[in-house]
């Protein structure tokens, strides 16, 4: 957004030239289908949700205006801060680890070794598998009595435990699954970004005698920053919204329930299980506000490290 702001100020200040006006028309044509679609199917529901957050809303969307009541209750709700804490922990750990792994794998797969297409397909597998099946398999792996993880640890003489029922470990176990599921797809995007880097840069570097590490840090990473930025922003957003695998892996009777509940799970329970859609709407707005803040911060910070040509 950084460079756009400047040019925008310029266009507002002086009279637009004909060429500029032509560009505007072109731009509006380019964005029109998307914007119209989003307005109808997303922005309008979003506005409705905003309105709901000031109301008591039953299961059938009958509203009773209650003003700031939902928000007042929300900031008093200690569950909100607990779920926020868990969510932040999840984001702070899964995003950097996931990103580093994706970059590593993408880089290795961008070399001229044999079998890259097989590797890519395998790494891609988890991201296309239904989450129901994923949750089930990982529950088996983590099982305290007969899980594979405990068997492997036992082989090395480490004593296993009930990973998903232990409040100290459960969230980390769930993070592993989250990373496992997303690395493959992020790798694809990064790989796509790497393909876009012109060979001539590498050829020039090779002539200069730069080794693979040097090339990686002085060409690949800087040239890849717009893509890394994208993967990072979207990973943070989806990290803040993590929901379904945790929902399926941690039952309500688990001792680790409190330490694994995320913001969206809290939202989901109020919206669907409890039928308190007004309160749920307020939670959704809270989630929105948090993500928006973090994203704006990211967009401001990008000037320092993202390399837009």
């Amino acid at each position: 957004m950084g460079d756009m702001t400047k040019s925008n100020v310029k266009t507002v200040k002086r009279k637009a030239t004909r060429r500029e006006k032509k560009e505007w028309v072109a731009a509006y044509i380019f964005i029109a289908p998307l914007v119209i679609g989003l307005l109808v199917f997303y922005i309008y529901p979003f506005i409705q949700n905003f309105w709901f957050s000031f109301n008591d809303v039953n299961r059938f969307n009958i509203t009773t205006f209650t003003g700031l009541e939902n928000y007042k209750n929300l900031i008093k709700d200690k569950e909100l801060f607990q779920t926020l804490g868990n969510t932040l922990k999840y984001v702070v750990i899964t995003v950097p680890v996931g990103l580093a792994l994706s970059i590593l794998i993408a880089t290795l797969l961008n070399t001229k070794i044999r079998g890259t297409s097989i590797y890519r397909t395998i790494y891609f597998l988890p991201s296309v598998t239904m989450s129901v099946a994923i949750a089930l398999v990982w529950k088996w792996i983590y099982n305290g009595e007969f899980g594979i993880l405990n068997s492997i640890l036992g082989f090395f003489g480490i004593e296993g435990q009930n990973w998903l029922s232990n409040p100290k470990t459960a969230l980390y176990m769930v993070m592993i699954v989250g990373i496992w599921m997303t690395v493959g797809y992020n790798m694809i995007i990064l790989l796509a970004g790497m393909q876009g880097i012109s060979r001539s840069y590498y050829e020039a570097a090779a002539i200069d005698g730069a080794g693979p590490f040097k090339r990686f840090f002085s060409i690949t990473i800087p040239m890849l920053t717009p893509t890394i930025f994208f993967v990072m922003i979207t990973s943070i957003i989806s990290g803040f919204q993590v929901f379904d695998t945790i929902y399926m892996m941690i039952p309500k009777t688990s001792l680790a329930y409190e330490s694994t509940q995320t913001l969206v799970m809290m939202f989901y329970r109020y919206a669907f299980d409890y039928g308190q859609k007004g309160y749920a709407a307020a939670i959704a707005i809270f989630i929105f506000a948090i993500i928006m803040l973090v994203t704006i911060f990211q967009f401001i910070m990008q000037k320092k490290w993202v390399n837009y040509d």
Binding site: A27, Y42, L125, I141, G196, Q241, Y268
Partner: protein, 275 residues
């Protein structure tokens, strides 16, 4: 020199193989479980390999669903979603990356904000919109809201921003108008990004679960994910059936990916020469 390179390759293979193991083992377990009987799937401690390969779960799914129709619906819905998203996201992504126009920042923030709320809030309002359009329980209902993607737009914007500006300026000087520049010069340059978006969109549309379930009712208007879930009873935990369903759902995606990633490699060569 040659020796050093092959040593490097071996190291790369070792790292990749470790990752492969972690990635594929849970997946193999899924496949193996789909061939077990219910009793064996529930046995404690669990067996890894099925005692005998039992195809009942697959047979059962094929028999109890209008399978051809369901597959066809899923393919149509996925295809239209992909074409729609690619078209709209590429166009908008280009405008956000390269053109200047009043309100650009506000509109872009508006687009991004769609990503920042729990997706479930859209469910009921979208249902009401489709209802008002008179499209409940129809094929277009499956894909209509999914044609527009904030994620895809953001992604394409990022890919466009990493292309050198000179290429575009040269085209404009050659007398191309905006639309020609976009179609002839810019789109081919972000081909690998488009392929990545195709894969993402296809994966999303293929696995979309809640939306088809809510908006469509008759079994012949369903897509794969929801259809498979209707085979589950309220209390029955038929693991082999669940796993068989997951396997059947993932196969076409894997095939699609395998084919598309060749495109991917070609895309490299292409942009490589031009860039």
């Amino acid at each position: 020199m040659h020796k050093r390179q092959s040593f490097q390759h071996i190291m790369i293979h070792i790292i990749l193989l470790i990752g492969t193991g972690i990635t594929i083992l849970p997946f193999l377990w899924m496949v193996f479980t789909s061939f077990k009987t219910v009793g064996e799937a529930m046995s404690i401690p669990p067996t890894i390999f099925p005692k005998t390969f039992n195809f009942d779960s697959y047979k059962n799914i094929l028999e109890s669903l209008p399978f051809g129709r369901v597959y066809l619906n899923t393919i149509i819905s996925t295809l239209v979603t992909v074409i729609g998203q690619i078209t709209f996201c590429t166009m908008a992504g280009y405008a956000f990356a390269r053109l200047n126009f009043p309100g650009k920042n506000i509109i872009f923030i508006l687009v991004l904000s769609v990503l920042m709320v729990p997706g479930q809030i859209f469910l009921v309002p979208q249902y009401m919109i489709i209802l008002k359009m008179g499209l409940l329980d129809s094929i277009p209902a499956l894909f209509l809201p999914n044609l527009f993607s904030a994620f895809g737009t953001f992604m394409m914007r990022q890919f466009f921003t990493s292309i050198p500006k000179e290429l575009e300026e040269a085209a404009m000087l050659d007398g191309c108008n905006r639309f020609q520049t976009f179609g002839r010069i810019m789109v081919p340059l972000v081909k690998s990004g488009i392929v990545a978006l195709v894969i993402f969109t296809a994966k999303f549309a293929w696995n979309d679960f809640m939306w088809p379930m809510i908006v469509n009712t008759s079994p012949k208007m369903m897509t794969l994910g929801p259809s498979l879930s209707t085979l589950q009873g309220q209390y029955i935990t038929d693991y082999p059936a669940q796993m068989a369903g997951a396997v059947m759902a993932v196969i076409p995606m894997v095939l699609l990916f395998f084919i598309f990633q060749k495109q991917f490699v070609e895309g490299v060569a292409h942009t490589g020469v031009k860039g």
